[in-house]
Amino acid sequence: MNNAFFLAFQYLRATKLRFVILVVCTAIALSLPINTFVAVNLLSDKLTERGEQTPILIGKKGNEFALTMNALYFRGTVKETVSMDVYQDMSDIYEGMVLPLYIAHSASQTPIVGSNIDYFETRNLQLNNGRYYIGLGEVVVGAQAAAEFNLDLGDSVRSDLQNLYNIAGSYPLSLKVVGVLEPSGTSDDAVMFTDLKTVWALDGLLHGHDNVTAETALNGESTDENLEATAAIFMFSELTDSNREEFHLHGSESEMPISSVALFPYNQLEKDKLLGRMALSEDLQAVQPIEVVDDILSIVLKLQQGLYVYYGMLLISTIFFYILVVHLSLQLRQGELILIRRIGGSKQTIRNLILAEIVLVTLASILMTIVFSWVFMLLINVGLSQLSG
């Protein structure tokens, strides 16, 4: 067979274009089902892992999917928020970790996650540089977001304008980067973290402006302290050390909005009690993210099965294509085959030659499939980290 492989190699070398087309077509047909399998498994692992790490989410009754995507993967916004007193109630009742989450704003299209400092410990997020936020207007940036926007300590990022046409609404604020996280391989890498008050400031619920004096007030002659400011008063668009003290909340903190509350009960009993209690609530829902993830994955798996049927057909058509190419090439090589027969080559010699060519094309296709799959793995990992971000 050595001579057959030698001749097959020489032949394939002389017909490079045909060889490359065959190899690429076969590699695509082989790598599609493999890559789909790998992608679905990676997606499944990523989603499931995150789902398992967040036992329960509390939010307004409604779309469980939107609530899960917002709280776990920072995608989209919830239609209706809950108030901070839901978080305070849960903190009072349960001994497990309770985290408020408010995800409604972004800076450079990167979600801003409002929570408290316990979030980092609960998600096991480590600082690579700097410190955690301690004051208003400070953000800690995920590793991927920091790399993407070249952010480092001391840099400023401006929040995105929520509604361009609402001139009476809140203004974008300039936020200061005080920390950068280590990569975690989760959706936390592609976001910025800040405290809830900063997010409320982005909402305009907590704001700062020049002092209202009798000269700048609508009711300047009023003798009591309730002065009503005119629209001309200067609103702070940046949180700085000098104006931070001027920012204040209008209303009670317990009435301020949050997207959801994430609960990490200590044990199953506590979890079941919580779910039972929430089932009786008229306006709140308790969502187990892992169940939502399972629902998503069941749809993905059905799609995957459909794709496998399609890939099977593609593979069969590739095999027929290959048979056709071999058949046509043998017709084109009739002269060579007659020469082989005339100078003593047997039918077995010709069979060996064709077999050697098929083996070489198949080996090259497998190698190409490995390369395709490796490149795909790199891309899917980047894609999944972006998806999870």
Partner: protein, 225 residues
């Protein structure tokens, strides 16, 4: 006394018939090729020249009569035995497909060793291939591919290939077809010279009368010896 390489007596060949078509019948003239003899087989197209060549090569078998190659009745041998006899003793030169297009000159000369398991490719064989290429004047073109050679050069490589396995007989089917007279004589000079040098029998099939004077033994189909 010279060895008899090929002996044909009272041989008759007919192609298998298809329904409704007449068969091809060929009465083969008697002839004997002895070691070192050079024969030419000529006749018009369709007269059966190539058929006789294929019968001597053992690719076709006569329906009656006797064809001896190196004292073996070719019609009594199995296909694999005929193949073994051909590999060991017969070299071929063709006009229609002289060389394998994807192999360079040296690999074309070595081609019989690549496709016949009973021929073992050794360093000695490789050196012999280089020597043969030198003998046909192509030592500087051993790494050229057929597409990089002229038609005459391709035939020279084919002659070297025909001699690589040290055959007892060379069968040449229209080796000068498509060549001008000057190049035809060059190729025939080389073929006959190599046959003499290597001491092998030569049977050339051609319909070109300009080379007939080069042979002492000419077999005319439809004519006489």
């Amino acid at each position: 006394m010279s060895d008899v390489i090929v002996s044909v007596k009272n041989a008759h060949f007919s192609y298998p018939t298809r329904k409704g078509s007449s068969s091809f019948e060929l009465e083969i003239p008697n002839f004997t090729i002895q070691s070192g003899q050079q024969w030419m087989l000529m006749g018009p197209s369709g007269s059966g020249k190539s058929t006789i060549l294929n019968i001597v090569a053992g690719e076709l078998v006569t329906s009656r009569g006797e064809v001896l190659v190196l004292n073996q009745r070719i019609d009594k041998l199995t296909e694999s035995e005929r193949q073994a006899l051909r590999i060991a003793n017969v070299g071929f030169v063709f006009q229609d497909f002289p060389l394998v297009p994807y192999l360079d000159s040296i690999q074309n000369v070595l081609f019989p060793y690549r496709i016949n398991p009973q021929l073992k490719l050794t360093e000695g064989v490789y050196n012999r291939a280089l020597l043969l290429l030198d003998n046909v004047g192509l030592s500087s073109k051993s790494t050229r591919f057929p597409s990089e050679l002229s038609q005459g050069e391709r035939q020279r490589v084919a002659i070297a290939r025909a001699l690589i396995a040290s055959p007892r007989l060379i069968l040449a089917d229209e080796p000068t077809a498509g060549l001008d007279i000057k190049r035809s004589h060059e190729i025939m000079n080389l073929l006959q010279e190599m046959a003499v040098t290597q001491g092998v029998g030569l049977l050339v099939v051609s319909h070109e009368p300009q080379i007939v004077d080069r042979f002492d033994n000419v077999l005319c189909l439809g004519g006489e010896v």
